[in-house]
């Protein structure tokens, strides 16, 4: 038996929490002979292993690239702070899991950027790998550093750290990029030459080839390419509706030894969303809706379950109830999973007669809870955010659920939404109260299974690029907590307060996320300085040092308020406007105006609102 080597010596592995994060060798992980491949690709999710391994996107890219005999795609995740310390002390280079060899040996290092608070972890991974943090300091000895994922829809705050961003879905152009690298190698063309050519592949953005110019007030005046042969606008690349069912899926997902966040087979049923909630970036940047056929999905689920041995399968989409084949898909899954003793997890299902019936079949009513995401406490604010959920929907769903035996309700809200008033905040408590009253009025004591438990939680709204709320003004830091306390107090005033609880997310991260989300290239220095001052794992509230960040902003002379509380003009040129996601800025502007007027916009199935994404060919696009 070949004896697998580990990059880390035994005494290091035995001294850190969960050494299994760093040894690779998981079932279905792909080993190749490095001498037999032309391109070595290392894919990174810049967070801890358990989070990164739960992300379907990397499994898709890993599968797609490793199907090529000329490419070896490996994985790396952020070393947890305990190992981070050891690597720095002992000057050990960061390594990829499969080969256990230094990341620096890779030809391409790809980061998926899923949330802004991982930016310092990108720098951590580069630094520990011995790769210069900034693109312009890199040499032929360094990998090409590329980025993808939702945060690349405004890549500017991290632009100097990347050689290239790919704006779009991996299946469309990733292979062309790898082909190009092979071509350049064969022709003896180096990094700069490669990047020059790469910048002409649709969807590829090479930040070094674009220059921003600023107005006296600090806003962007122009953003243009420095060469004539590269495009001024980067068009997002997507799989078409016709091809979506045939897109390769990871038939043999890597199965971790340790328990990860998403420890199950994940079935991606569709991309895009018809809803058009105005706060939701995913709802805009993944348009249009493209559904996979349920027959294909049932086959895929079976294949993945057989190839992994997982005991659970979960549907992945932005709003599974909107999937038009949901009934046959779930019936098929119940059939197969029942006979194979596999659980089905159904997140993001709207509560109605159908979903309650399904939930009764597949889970223990006593142990499960109902989840509603009204996002806002009053119908007025729900109209502002274009959340289609009405009070009747919630009450109707809840009543049916109570009769079915449920007595636990989770409610998700956002605070800090545009136009939010105290009435909207109080609405969170009052809606909770009405649900409690509904329960006690309709469920006679002999039919009740104890007291109803209502758990309301609130996150703080952060305006994101490419949403109708990209023009929104954020609140001052203290205001977020004030609103949370306001809701908490309002909860205490309710008659059924003993049946309710309220919790809220970390407020510190909100401001930072706000700066990074709508930041420009000038924010990059702050991110680098924060990293140099010791910030990593900012997405973890235990590790986020807000005070340190604020000091770094101050020292760098970068005004947080410019990015958060400044009123942006309707015609302001945004740092991300050079990206064409399909949805037009004029549509977003229209939606922003409708939001302020409290007008609801129909979803894509009810009627096309002309967002612009129809050019990409969606399932319900005219």
């Amino acid at each position: 038996m070949a004896n697998r080597k580990t990059a880390l010596p035994e005494e290091v592995l035995l001294s850190v929490e969960k050494p299994a994060r760093y040894i690779g060798a998981e079932y279905n992980s792909v080993m190749k002979n490095a001498a037999e491949v032309k391109v070595r690709f290392v894919m990174c999710f810049p967070d801890v292993y358990e989070i990164g391994m739960s992300y379907l996107g990397i499994q898709i890219i890993y599968d797609m690239l490793n199907k090529r005999p000329d490419v070896w795609c490996e994985r790396v995740y952020s070393p947890w702070p305990d190992l981070d310390r050891v690597l720095r002390e002992k000057k050990l280079p960061l390594f990829s899991l499969e080969s256990q060899e230094p990341v620096k040996r890779a030809d391409i290092l790809g980061f998926t950027l899923q949330y802004e608070m991982c930016y310092t972890n990108v720098l951590q991974v580069l630094d520990l790998s011995g790769i210069p943090l900034r693109s312009n300091d890199r040499t032929e000895a360094d990998p090409i550093v590329i980025g993808g994922g939702p945060c690349t829809y405004n890549p500017e705050p991290v632009a100097p750290f990347f050689d290239l961003f790919y704006i779009g879905e991996a299946e469309t152009q990733m292979n062309s990029l790898v082909d190009l690298l092979e071509e350049c190698r064969a022709e003896g063309i180096g990094r700069t030459g490669f990047l020059r050519r790469a910048a002409r592949i649709p969807g590829m953005y090479v930040p070094a080839f674009y220059e921003p110019a600023y107005n006296a007030d600090g806003t962007l005046a122009a953003f243009s390419p420095v060469y004539d042969d590269i495009p001024g606008t980067i068009k997002r690349q997507v799989v078409s509706n016709d091809d979506i069912s045939d897109v390769p899926f990871p038939e043999r997902p890597v199965v971790p030894y340790i328990q990860v966040t998403q420890d199950r087979v994940v079935l991606e049923i569709m991309r895009g969303c018809i809803r058009g909630c105005r706060f939701c970036q995913a709802g805009m940047i993944y348009r249009p809706l493209r559904e996979k056929s349920f027959e294909v999905l049932l086959k895929n689920a079976e294949t993945m379950l057989k190839n992994t041995g997982y005991d659970e399968v979960s549907l992945s989409s932005l709003s599974s109830s909107d999937y038009s084949g949901i009934k046959p898909l779930i019936d098929g899954l119940i059939d197969f999973c029942g006979s194979h003793k596999v659980n089905i997890a159904l997140p993001s299902l709207r509560i109605d007669a159908f979903s309650l019936d399904v939930m009764k079949k597949i889970q223990d009513v006593k142990k499960s809870s109902l989840t509603f995401a009204p996002e806002g406490g009053t119908q007025r604010i729900r109209n502002v955010i274009n959340k289609g959920l009405t009070e009747e929907d919630i009450m109707g769903g809840a009543l049916q659920a109570f009769k079915g035996g449920w007595n636990r309700v989770k409610l998700y809200f956002m605070l800090g939404l545009p136009t939010e008033t105290e009435e909207d905040m109080r609405g969170i408590a009052e809606l909770s109260e009405r649900i409690a009253v509904l329960y006690y009025r309709n469920m006679p004591p002999d039919k009740r299974k104890g007291r109803i438990q209502i758990t309301a939680s609130a996150s703080f709204f952060v305006p994101k690029p490419f949403t109708p709320f990209q023009w929104a003004v954020m609140e001052e830091p203290d205001e977020y907590l004030r609103r949370a306390y306001y809701v908490k107090d309002a909860m205490r005033e309710q008659h059924n307060r003993k049946s309710m609880s309220f919790s809220y997310h970390d407020a510190d991260a909100t401001i930072l996320e706000g700066v990074m989300a709508r930041g420009d290239r000038r924010v990059a220095d702050v991110i680098e300085n924060a990293y140099r001052a010791g910030s990593i794992f900012d997405a973890w509230s235990d590790y986020l040092d807000y005070g340190r960040w604020m000091k770094v902003f101050e020292d760098a002379g970068v005004d947080v308020g410019f990015y958060t509380t400044r009123q942006r003009g309707l015609d302001e040129l945004f740092p991300w406007d050079f990206i064409d996601i399909g949805v037009s800025k004029s549509f977003l502007r229209r939606e922003w105006a409708r939001a302020l007027a409290g007008e609801v916009t129909p979803n894509c199935r009810e009627g096309c609102s002309g967002c612009g994404a129809a050019v990409l060919g969606g399932d319900c696009c005219p």
């Binding site: 697998r4 035995l14 057989k306 997982y310 223990d364």
Partner: protein, 237 residues
């Protein structure tokens, strides 16, 4: 019917904890397509139990797991089936039917285990620089009527006598290893690392870093003077 599977856990698998090994086997059994017995309820899982949890950092060539199956093929076929889908470091060695019932469960019947502790290079150097003869020091240690160690747990701080839990201890391959037969199981159990620390103390050596590597050689059931390996209690299918 109940099947006892003997398997190895070597190489980098020493970094995988006991519960994660359970999860690994649950998935392996599902993938194998074997006709396994499941627990009841909304989240049914294969009914398996592992004999004596192995600590992180320890390797083994004799791990045991009991699993309920409704039906199965011949032992040789099943060993082949399970091994063709295995990660490096796990190898199924035997597949035998054992009597049903809780009392014969592999977890319940464990009474002793055999280990080999191999000294690291730095320990070897330390031992030879002190001109210690391991076998002599061992015999000298075992000749004592009691070996008292300080036991520190979250709740209490006390002394314990480990001498009755040491059934055998001898040096092998001159300087480099010690083979140990120690009491194991729920009633009385001695961790090989605890013994080795006591031995180092007896030699007047303070262990540094990773002073030895422990490898499990066998797990036994039965009385001290009539120990039998766990898989000898079953029959090939």
């Amino acid at each position: 019917m109940k099947i006892r599977i003997k398997y190895t856990k070597t190489g980098v698998l020493k970094y995988i904890g006991h519960l994660d090994m359970m999860r690994y086997f649950q998935k392996l059994l599902r993938r194998s397509g074997m006709d396994i017995g499941f627990t009841q309820g909304y989240s049914p899982h294969p009914e398996i139990s592992i004999a004596l949890p192995l600590g992180i950092g320890v390797t083994s060539e004799a791990e045991y797991m009991d699993v309920t199956v409704n039906s199965c093929g011949h032992s040789a076929e099943m060993i082949e089936l399970l091994n063709k889908d295995q990660v490096e470091g796990v190898r199924v060695l035997s597949f035998r039917q054992v009597p049903d019932g809780r009392r014969s469960n592999c977890m319940a019947i464990v009474s002793a285990a055999r280990y080999q502790a191999t000294f690291s290079d730095s320990m070897k150097a330390e031992i030879s620089s002190r001109k210690l003869v391991i076998e002599e020091r061992l015999q000298d240690m075992l000749a004592q009527s009691s070996i008292i160690i300080r036991k520190k747990t979250k709740r209490s701080d006390g002394d314990a006598d480990i001498r009755p839990l040491v059934y055998e201890a001898q040096s092998v391959a001159s300087l480099s290893s010690i083979e140990l037969l120690l009491a194991a199981g729920s009633a009385n159990s001695l961790n090989p690392d605890t013994f080795m620390r006591a031995f180092a103390e007896h030699c007047g050596i303070e262990p540094q870093g990773i002073p030895w590597h422990i490898h499990r050689l066998e797990i036994y059931a039965g009385e001290k003077d009539a120990l039998v390996p766990l898989d000898s209690l079953g029959e090939d299918v």
